[in-house]
Symmetry: D2
Subunit: 140 residues, 4 copies
């Protein structure tokens, strides 16, 4: 399953190069991740309220073309890894109108509880495990 | 008592006007506030660990000259209001080398606990009340 | 004329109080301002491309209730001041579902060119002057 | 050559997990990069004023332990790659007091001019090439 979200780059996100500051793509990935969870039927806010937190273990981003203020981007998101204690999403950022690929990246997360202790999501919350599982075609 | 802190403006804080984005001054005020509490002998981190939180009720900032990437600013901070349940700081932002005034502003805070319930700091934490009180010459 | 925009608070915008960091409301005001200009028929991006820039001179915000991650807010925007060289907008932030007022604020802007020299928008760009003028019922 | 900088994590940088938001490490890397250039004798601000810009091509970060508000971190920076048109730095983030490694990452940059056209730094600015070259012991 692929999730998609449109983001309108903010003035605050620009820098004095006249482009979107590179670090902000990770905020966009977070927006895309939030949308991904809604699309599979379980919002990240709901997850947290059930004491399942997804801190970031590893991230990366490759920048191809700059993004600009008020020029809509579209972020497409899908799972690339899903194991009992880890969960990875990859993202492609397109200029929405032209479909030009601007950047692509990934975020790898652990499943932990509010005390930051790792949890096995299959055991801890089978419903969430099944929902994520169903949205992923790869090796689990 | 006046507290002072030097801040080196970050590239991330610039925008495509080539200056520091206006909203970031409130982060600088927070850095200055953090320094202020250390200077009076009670860090904001300690305050929070004792269940005293200072959410913002009201803020303002007047911008005179722009700040720029990697041109040090100095923020000077002092109390302008201190009552049992409220606490206000005012800030002046100078270009450090030239002493040019770039901006001035204020933040007004309530004293609350972690459940966001207002607390009377004089009753709740007399030590903190005294420390803040001693650093303020105005009407209490 | 009143402009309105829905914003979905981002995780990045939260702080360890578990609420949206106060400084981020100025970014939301900017998002609302961007929408305001589109609604009156002249995007801020177009303005900048015609060498009209709107740096911030003065801002303020009053916080009534906290905003939370992934709980939509609606920002309503209208002009409160419009003179040849200055331009002010005021903003009300509501929790979108409940219509609870969370905060209200304002931003005051000058019209300048890319060299940061003040311009009289009526003389410099009559079309923009008229569009803004028509969206404002107050004293000009 | 290894460059080092102390950063005091800001409240604004925290999120509702009670830790520093992962995306902010790239801002810290930028602060460390800025310090790195000063340490080798050529500030990034000077570079930009000579029409040499270093946009980011690729970044990554691995998170080991969370960083917290007002608990100083130390970022150590060194070159891992330097070619005529590309330049890479790697960063280690330590909790300053304990020397605990919190995270490590890298940023890869191109040399471009203000029109975002790639430049060969050896040809364009021999002085900068030599300074960077001298601070790097690896294969050039």
């Amino acid at each position: 399953m692929k999730s998609s979200v449109i983001i309108n780059p903010r003035y605050e996100e620009t820098d004095q190069m006249g482009i979107i500051y590179h670090g902000n793509y990770f905020t966009w990935f977070e927006v895309a991740r939030s949308k991904f969870f809604k699309d599979i039927g379980y919002s990240y806010r709901d997850l947290e309220s059930e004491n399942v937190i997804l801190p970031v273990i590893d991230v990366g981003c490759t920048y191809i073309k700059p993004a600009h203020y008020d020029v809509d981007v579209r972020v497409e998101t899908e799972i690339y890894l899903f194991k009992g204690v880890k969960f990875g999403l990859k993202y492609s950022v397109f200029e929405n109108d032209t479909n030009l690929l601007l950047a692509h990246g990934y975020t790898l997360h652990g499943f932990v509880d509010k005390e930051m202790k790792p949890i096995n999501i299959k055991k801890k919350n089978k419903k969430v495990f099944d929902i994520i599982s169903n949205s992923f075609e790869g090796v689990k």
